[in-house]
């Protein structure tokens, strides 16, 4: 095994890295489930039913409105991810600092 194994593990053990992973999972897992369900609902509804054939405004149908909603969903989720990940960058810096100082037995590791 790589001789630097201990150093990678030292990062993993910092409280900042654990918080990074917790925070990533808390955002990415629900967001992914949501957009997959939201996305596949449209082909399911159009492939097997005609429930989206109603009119919303004039000739703009429910199917078009659902389709446009997918565009909005993509942009909203992408920007939510962006704002979350900027916080994650700070946690990465913090994990690096914590791991570096724990090396000499100082405080910092979790």
């Amino acid at each position: 095994m790589d001789h630097r194994h201990e150093e990678w593990v030292r990062i993993e053990r910092t409280s900042a890295f654990k918080e990074l992973i917790r925070s990533k999972k808390a955002f990415i897992i629900p967001a992914t489930i949501f957009f997959m369900v939201f996305y596949f609902t449209l082909p399911f509804l159009t492939a097997f039913t005609t429930v989206l054939n109603f009119s919303v405004i004039g000739a703009i149908t429910g199917a078009y409105v659902y389709a446009f909603a997918q565009f909005i969903m993509t942009w909203v989720l992408a920007h939510l991810y962006l704002s979350q990940s900027n916080k994650w960058d700070d946690l990465v810096d913090e994990a690096r600092r914590q791991a570096a100082t724990s090396e000499t037995g100082e405080e910092g590791s979790a």
Partner: protein, 526 residues
């Protein structure tokens, strides 16, 4: 040659001149394997965002979707949703770990963890297969399209596009390719906004008026989804959507774009830029498509090309005469050359960097030799692709693109996700998953109605609903049944320590000793 043709030639020559000037400028910076494959990793986030859009919005998007909407209404618009939502898969799951682990190719990402020649060769095989399907489709499409727009033949068109892509890539590498994609993206945005404004001006700038007019003249079926038929067609739709939404995250020519930026932060910012451009473009396609339905007419569009691919150029001609037609045609041309150049780089990376430098030479080749190999293979791949495209003249382009997405979704996506997120994954699982994904997706297409017609053994035209689960199953079965378990592989050095992969993928830390030392010095000085 008449006046219209002269105007068209002037625009085409102008576009070619711009791309060649870019290539000349880029060639001076293209001096190493790193600049050839990933532009030295120095592309800025906004530049990469434009380049991703330029790489992604192929002629199938610009001409194909507008044409499909013009002829079939909502069901033509439908594909573009999957093409866009796919970027959430890329952004949330793949892009940052990929940037943090990779160097030049998808093979590099996989061998960051599974450092064996078998894994690298299999990854390279998948990249070559996907990129070739995609490239042949683009070249055949280019030949058909240009021969419709200009008084030159199909074969001459392919050869012209082929020579241009070869020059861009061999001389200018990824720097030239990136800037050509940026120019193309800007031209495409200008062209489609201009067309959309010209259409909307006819309808009081009210989209509802446009939609109402389409419904009144062409019937309700133009604004609602095509009616449900049988269970099989329904499943086929779902299957196609699986390939669209997952496939992008496995397309090598898109994935390598994330290796051209300096870090994960730039990778994510570039996707944000790309989703705005790509989404904004797709939102305009109903205006272009329905505009063509009303202002050109479905019969005229079908008469010019049964597939509807000339709807946008014909719309430009109807609204702005021969000059607008020439401009839009030139944009379509730029669209094609930018996409094929990106594909040549992806395929040349798989051949030269993965097969030659790392498998045959064991990673020992000196830098100048790697650079030379990269350029020679780019040349070889271009010539090979041109010959194949000339031979396959009548092939169905949409089918080849769909195949590329299906193979990418089935062969690349499962292995990439499990590599990042699963500690217990092993070498046998990675190789099995990639091969099962490749063979099942290609195999099911061969057995499908697309190839066998009524004698089809597999009833769906899109294989993803079966081949993607098979790709994942291959990864799991290979891991549990074949080889040693991942802990043993790590101890023996066949597999890189997962703690390292996990930390690297999530943080971007690569040189751990140095970074810890720096961080320590910083905390001490503070």
């Amino acid at each position: 040659m008449n006046r219209e043709d002269l105007i068209a030639f002037a625009f085409f020559t102008g576009i070619i001149a711009i791309t060649l000037v870019i290539t000349y400028w880029a060639a001076k910076q293209n001096t190493s394997a790193g600049s050839h494959y990933v532009a030295g990793g120095e592309i800025k986030a906004w530049q990469n965002g434009l380049a991703i859009s330029g790489d992604y919005l192929s002629a199938a998007s610009f001409l194909g979707i507008a044409g499909a909407i013009a002829l079939n209404g909502f069901s033509g618009f439908y594909l573009s949703i999957g093409f866009l939502v796919a970027y959430l898969v890329v952004l949330l799951l793949v892009a940052e770990p990929l940037r943090n682990l990779g160097r030049y190719t998808v093979g590099d990402v996989l061998t960051a963890r599974f450092n064996t020649k078998t894994v690298r060769s299999t990854a390279a095989l998948n990249t070559v297969a996907i990129s070739m399907f995609y490239m042949i489709a683009q070249l055949i499409g280019a030949g058909a399209l240009i021969s419709l727009l200009l008084p030159i033949s199909f074969s001459v068109s392919i050869i012209v596009v082929g020579i241009l892509m070869t020059v861009y890539v061999v001389a200018g590498g990824m720097v030239a390719t990136t800037w050509i994609q940026i120019v193309k993206a800007v031209l495409l945005i200008i062209g489609s906004i201009a067309l959309a404004i010209a259409v909307m001006a006819q309808f009081n700038f009210n989209p509802v008026t446009l939609f109402n007019e389409v419904q009144a003249q062409e019937g309700r079926e133009m604004v609602v989804p095509s009616p449900p038929e049988s269970l099989t067609t329904g499943l086929d739709t779902i299957s196609l959507n699986i390939a669209l939404v997952l496939g992008t995250a496995g397309l090598p020519h898109i994935l390598i774009r994330f290796l051209t930026v300096p870090d994960a932060k730039a990778a994510r910012q570039s996707i944000i830029v790309a989703t705005w451009i790509i989404g904004g473009f797709y939102l305009l396609t109903p205006i272009l498509g329905y505009g063509a339905t009303l202002l050109v007419g479905r019969d005229a569009i079908e008469a010019a090309d049964p597939g509807g691919n000339l709807a946008a150029p014909l719309l430009a001609e109807a609204l702005g005469g021969p000059i607008f037609l020439a401009f839009v045609s030139a944009v379509a041309f730029a669209t094609i050359v930018a996409v094929v150049a990106g594909l040549v780089i992806a395929a040349s990376g798989a051949f030269a960097h993965d097969f030659y430098t790392n498998v045959i030479r064991g990673g020992e080749a000196p830098e100048h030799e790697q650079f030379r190999a990269a350029r020679y293979t780019s040349l070889g791949i271009s010539v090979f692709a041109i010959i194949l495209a000339l031979l396959l003249q009548g092939a169905n382009v949409a089918f080849l693109v769909a195949l590329a997405f299906a193979v990418a979704a089935s062969a690349n996506v499962p292995v990439l996700l499990l590599l990042i997120f699963w500690r217990g994954f092993n070498t046998a699982g990675a190789v099995t998953g990639m091969l099962v994904g490749l063979i099942s997706s290609v195999g099911l297409v061969i057995l499908s109605p697309t190839i066998l017609g009524d004698a089809a053994i597999f009833p769906l035209t899109s294989p993803a609903i079966v081949s993607v689960p098979l790709g994942f199953a291959g990864c799991l079965l290979g891991t549990f049944l074949g080889g040693k378990n991942s802990e043993r592989e790590m101890e023996e050095g066949i597999q890189i320590d997962y703690d390292q992969i996990y930390v690297r993928a999530n943080t971007g830390i690569s040189n751990i000793e140095e970074e810890l030392k720096e961080a320590k010095q910083e905390t001490q000085t503070n």
